[in-house]
Amino acid sequence: MKALLNAIARLGRLFLDGAQHAGSMALFAVELAWVLIPTWSRPRDIFQQIYAAGVLSLVIILVAGGFVGLVLGLQGYNILSNFNASESLGVMVALSLVRELGPVVAALLFAGRAGSAITAEIALMKTTEQLAALEMMAVDPMRRVIGPRFWGAMIAVPLLAAMFSLVGIVGGYLIGVVVLGVDQASYWGQIREQMEAWDDVGGGAIKSLAFGAVIALISVYEGYRAEPTASGMARATTQTVVLSSLAVLGLDFVMTAFMFGA
């Protein structure tokens, strides 16, 4: 009986912890929103962060995009040739990348590659009391440290997702047209015919923008609220990757249901 009560109490504590976490993140987001525009008074800080989060993630994003495209080309060819419709390979590869895989996989990779780095950096600054020192000098760390990192990540994700999709489509072309012999003009022609500029490309861009904002928020929040110890930093970094990945996948379902459902 007592064990049962304990178990129920533990469940309750888990729920309360989760609610508290979400609540303080929402408060943090409001606080962050106030400094988002003023952060642009020092655009160089933001460029520096776009470089650190975006440009340095290019290699992993482009290589991953290429391989995803190659696999999609192979699998798509196998399936479509059953229906004698391998001419549609181009549009299948392009639509799956632009609508779904580009934004989602790029966001997941970004969370692991750059989100964790942002969290670790901010958490270390906090642990070594650099943030407190900034405050002592009347420099707002939200504006100088958190804001630029948020912007940098949020701007980088949609751009990376677009490049991921493009490289993937070229990968599908390589395997489909060059290796498996799908008709070249059909590959591009079908894409041109059936892909909508606003619905598909625009929808994918909106998705990846939202993913960028979510990953950026989680990364800076976890760093800023990290326990100022070595293990606290480790926990914060892990938390960033886990939460960002789950948030991206969950949000993806909701956004897909709204944009492409019905």
């Binding site: 160089r44 460029f47 520096q48 776009i50 470089y51 975006g54 440009v55 290019l58 229906f83 004698n84 419709a85 001419e87 549609s88 392009a94 632009v98 701007i155 980088a156 949609p158 751009l159 990376l160 677009a162 490049m163 999709s165 493009l166 489509i169 072309y173 008709d183 070249q184 003009a185 059909s186 590959y187 591009w188 022609g189 079908q190 894409i191 041109r192 015919e193 892909m195 500029a197 606003w198 490309v201 625009g202 861009a205």
Partner: protein, 152 residues
């Protein structure tokens, strides 16, 4: 300062590359990879082209011999005028050849199939294939079938 400028330059390139990737995808690959086939032009008028589009293949006996170059409405007949470019290798198609619009497989793209006729003269640049058969629209086939059944 120098380092800062390098960073700005790289970030600028990065942003441009991202926007360019979006643009290329959004602008429907305008002419990307469309490498026009060298060849001669032939037109054909269809009552209905269905899902035929620019760059759709033109086939002879199942092999691709050309591409659809443009599809326009002919102003007098209100038919769709399909302009095709056919590879110069196949310049001996008889003038009374037949042009059909077929669908590749169940879900596939539509294409023009040329069935050669028996005339001695060959099609030349700018000629028109007069005998055509439109794309088969599933609804009209089904309704025809149903009406015939009802009559019985």
């Amino acid at each position: 300062m120098n380092v800062q400028r390098g960073v700005e330059l790289v970030v600028g390139l990065f942003v441009l590359a991202g926007i360019a990737a979006l643009m290329v995808m959004a602008l429907q690959w305008s002419n990307f990879g469309a490498s026009r086939v060298a060849g001669y032009e032939v037109t054909a008028r269809f009552d209905n082209v269905g899902g035929l589009s620019v760059l759709s293949p033109v086939k002879l006996a199942g092999l691709t011999i050309g591409r659809v170059d443009s599809i326009e409405i002919h102003p007098e007949t209100f038919q769709a005028e399909v302009r095709m470019v056919i590879d110069d290798k196949y310049d001996n198609l008889p003038t009374d050849s037949f042009a059909n619009i077929y669908t590749a497989g169940l879900l596939g793209a539509q294409y023009v199939e040329i069935s050669p006729g028996g005339a001695l003269e060959s099609l030349e640049d700018g000629d028109r294939i007069t005998m055509t058969q439109s794309a088969i629209i599933l609804e009209s086939v089904v309704s025809k079938f149903l009406f015939d059944k009802a009559k019985e």
